[in-house]
Symmetry: D2
Subunit: 354 residues, 4 copies
């Protein structure tokens, strides 16, 4: 493989705009890092806030060219789609109620879309988007990012290769504590606590969608029947913070589903166990480099990224040598220093040449 297959294919990087993810956003930094990681994307513009002034300040700090700094999403799409070097794709990481419009407008302009989950706040909107994607033939990606972990891909590949036999039982849970403290003060008007903006069920949109997706991704099965209770545990909250369900899959397998953001002290425990006729797999997001395979009648095994037995689907999504967790290049990055004094802006202003 070449060092940069995108440049090899296109003669250039893909040009990306980002919508949302400004100062103070966690997922914004994640998107930008992820886009840059393999140097396949160049982020050329973005709208970082619904406040145009704040957005322009962020855009300037990210070093965008001045003629690519826009006041609104619509303006961005219009102007970029008329440039010869306009964006190829847009990454949308705004409150849920805007996903539909921002995606639809992009598709209408011929722009590929990378959209944060949940797709939309209503089924009707989701189906309309789906139809538009089919009509246009454009790319629409939903960031069910946990399926990008090498060991999740390994799990899927092992199921596909028949190493588990027929799937019989699935347990999935996504348990967080970040919204457990009823005394914690969230920003006034926090959109996630507003059902009109965050959607009908906070816990299902925020993390239930990941749990459901992870189950489908690894097993290849669809949920056919559900018995569920979705509700609210923490007092004085207008949105759901837990959901439990029993599942029947389309091959007859049975499942358990449990998601909550009200489990005080738990950090981010997305966990799955899949059992088939020939063995079980266990994975937990908090130690994502570990996949446990428990074959029927043989010792259980610890599978690791690029370790022995890695299947191609998994190998393709890590750049690492076995034993080096995915955080390895981030630790290396910490090492790379901030600019020394002699290069600072004020010094440079007085000294045009080196």
């Amino acid at each position: 493989m070449s060092l940069n297959p995108v440049i090899d294919m296109l003669g250039r990087r893909l040009r990306l705009a980002v919508i949302g993810g400004g100062t103070g956003s966690f997922i914004g930094a994640m998107h930008r890092q992820s886009a840059r990681r393999d140097d396949r994307y160049q982020i050329v513009t973005g709208i970082f806030s619904s406040d145009p002034a704040k957005s322009k300040k962020d855009a300037s700090e990210l070093g965008f060219e001045s003629d690519r700094i826009y006041s609104s999403v619509k303006e961005l799409y219009e102007k970029e789609s008329s440039r010869k070097d306009g964006i190829d794709a847009v990454a949308i990481m705004t409150p849920n109620d805007s996903h539909f419009d921002y995606s639809m407008w992009a598709l209408e302009r011929g722009i590929d879309v990378i959209c944060d989950k949940p797709m939309t706040n209503t089924l009707e909107e989701a189906e309309a988007l789906h139809k538009k994607v089919q009509e246009t033939g454009l790319v629409f990606c939903l960031t069910h990012n946990y399926t990008g972990y090498p060991m999740v891909r390994q799990a899927k590949a092992m199921v596909e290769a028949g190493e588990l036999g027929t799937i019989r039982l699935v347990q999935v849970e996504y348990v967080q504590g970040g919204k457990a403290d009823e005394n914690k003060v969230f920003p006034a008007g926090y959109w996630k606590f507003d059902p009109a903006r965050g959607g009908p069920s906070l816990v299902m949109g925020d993390i239930g969608s990941h749990a459901h997706n992870l189950t489908r991704f690894i097993t290849g099965l669809e949920v056919d029947e559900v018995s569920a209770e979705i509700g609210t545990i923490v007092p004085n909250r207008r949105v759901h913070d837990f959901g439990g369900a029993m599942l029947r899959f389309n091959n007859g397998a049975r499942g358990s589903f449990w998601v909550t953001q009200a489990a005080a002290g738990v950090e981010n425990c997305l966990r799955i166990r899949v059992s088939g006729t020939k063995g079980s797999l266990e994975w937990m997001q908090e130690i994502p480099q570990a996949l446990t395979f428990k074959p029927l009648g043989a010792p259980s095994e610890n599978r690791t990224p690029n370790g022995p037995g890695t299947l191609p689907l998994s190998a393709r999504c890590t750049r690492l040598v076995a034993g080096h967790p995915e955080g390895f290049p981030m630790a290396l990055q910490i090492f790379i220093p901030m600019p020394p004094k002699r290069l600072r802006r004020d010094v440079l202003a007085n000294k045009q040449t080196r």
Copy 2:
């Protein structure tokens, strides 16, 4: 903090050249990803191979401008240092015997250096480099990258804050199995197995230097006295593959040191335990998001990146919310797709506008 403090400071990204790390290299991809992660560097040129043709092919695939593709390190330094938009820094990831020359030449041209460990193959060279750095006032970074993990920084910060009391005992080990198999075929002329190129002691240069550095970094102590055996376990090998030592630190603490690349089946176990009068800390690179603190007379604690009790030195080196391992953005990145067909080079060639 601004979204990009480097652009904020300089009005532009730092300009970086990379030496080494071409096709097939693990550390090359790591360096490039790390440089790009926070968008503080722009990699503008590089020499990827001692074979000029191979180097130029790699440089072209990385999308460098044609007037920045060079035939040799010397040419690169000369031409870049005379450009107005020349490189600020060079990252060196070549065989160990070239570190001295490539670093020295860069410093002589006023270029900051990011150099892979070990620094040089002899103490004399290291001291000459050190003297040059002091004379020039330039930046010289050695990539002891494991100290960039958030929980290693947390460990250092806890020691500095006195949470362990006076350090008494240190155990450090770096155990790998990658060179354990005597039947494994390495490339002919593999430089690591050539003492003239890889240096006098493979295991000490490759991983012993990390173990020693990690100890100093976390404890702030220096090793005063050593009783050691360094040698070779795997037959027919001209380089060292294990080293053991007992250590006496400059505050009277005692230590155990054990490094080997001959432990069949072990992946990459860099592990440290530091004990002081008030408690012990334990960390292992294979699960880098976990730091265990065992205080005297109280339950042991699991510290996590950005979890409760995170100290500023640690917080500064992660971008993540607690419960999301450092691999989180890489999993997200996997999600971002390769270019769709309509954008491929051959298609673009026939269609200049979108």
Copy 3:
């Protein structure tokens, strides 16, 4: 405390008979070890098989006196209850359909009962036994042995002490793989696969009862409402092998319940997470010496038997110094009760015969 509080109280050990648990039985050996562990019981007789010859052989090998070797449970109860040195208690570890008769007959003879779970095969029988116990004032112990682990007792004690605040969410699972293999050959007429003998639901009687009990024991809550599916996954089986449920507790807390014996490759994963307003607790039977406490807003803690923070309820059920793990039969042993008042030394002094 004296070295043997039973001898201190009675002037002798308690005299125990065992029913069931002969050659080839796992639980039989566990019972006998547990009875002996603290030297508070002397096993003086037993019926080990419904085949009198086999039973007598086992009894002889255990060293019972010849005049205490019996042909039937009824005979044992009759003759022992008329001896001056007759048994104080009987431990019953026979197939489930015999629990009711063997317990009832013992209670009718004034003998205390230690009975394996499930109590009986029908609710009516259980209620009749309960009534008899209340009438007679005798001791009736059901061996929910997992509650004897020191860290389960610690969990209960922490909940009682208010360290978790108000309980909001409970997840309990008991997942085994021992009956997952549809090709495994079980003994002909194996009673567990016969609903008439093993009861209406194998998985609920075998392990569901433990999961339910563990939840009640730790939380002190009762299940008020249930939505459940209980069924069979492995083909050609007449008994249940999985059960899932959503729970509503009597304080409004919500719960998830999942038990199965059909998870290929899993050994014996009984696991519970309890979340309250102030933090969460996590425990797993496969590493019973570890209890994780995740307080709201502070680092998670690893609690260990007799380690820092151990509460009296937990301390009382281990004989060990911190760092020395406990074992399963010790947990069972904890269950075996102290002598009831009517047998205490001062009572006996005034009443030479039973």
Copy 4:
């Protein structure tokens, strides 16, 4: 196998005396539990304290017959060895300086010995005891109890079966924190802090002996050469609290050895890694039910007591079904030997007196 092979062989249990281990002793309770666990021993007498009154009180509480309560070890040996139903064996758990006399006197009276480690305080005494054991043909057991854990036996069996290939590297550590706190008040005259009673090196006698024994037991190798530092870290202490060594084994393998009781906050971390040409094994006492096998070129495996792949040496020392963890006193119990030939039923038949 019969339910009680000792009764099967002898027609009775073995008769045991215990010396030491009275009220307040941890190891005393462990010995007594372990002796009783499989009902192969009957503890008939003991001396629990050097204070005769205290000893008699303990003996009485343990329910010994009044004519078997003695004032001194010598009296116990004399009177027991002249009884027809006298003791078969003695278990010695007294301060180290008494091990030699109490063992020697027992051997001189024809009594088998189970002695706590370390064997004696001097090499001369150890050699004298060894000579006496050879002359008498009696049994002398030293309680290196950690080798009784099922997974330690499994490790030894896997090495013996060649599953690791030729052993190349061994790391062993035994790290405790119980004596780390310099402010902790120990009982006045505590024998372990008195070199004359506890022996020349507290840390080596207490735990170094276990670490050394564990290494020999699993690998079957002997240490040929040592470079070591043994010393004292905690101020104001007359005995050693840490020891480090580099080892050369008799097959050329290299090793690292580290023991300390001064690691604040650590509980009881006895840990070993053994690497051979074909793979590595890792075990840690704090989770004794887990043995990790890391084969060259295949996924690492988790071995469990009686789990898949269990070898006979390991299977023989657990009574448990896979997934049910073992405990410390069970490991000790494994140590208590089967009856020697001279006591077997057929021998006794021809020889009514001892």
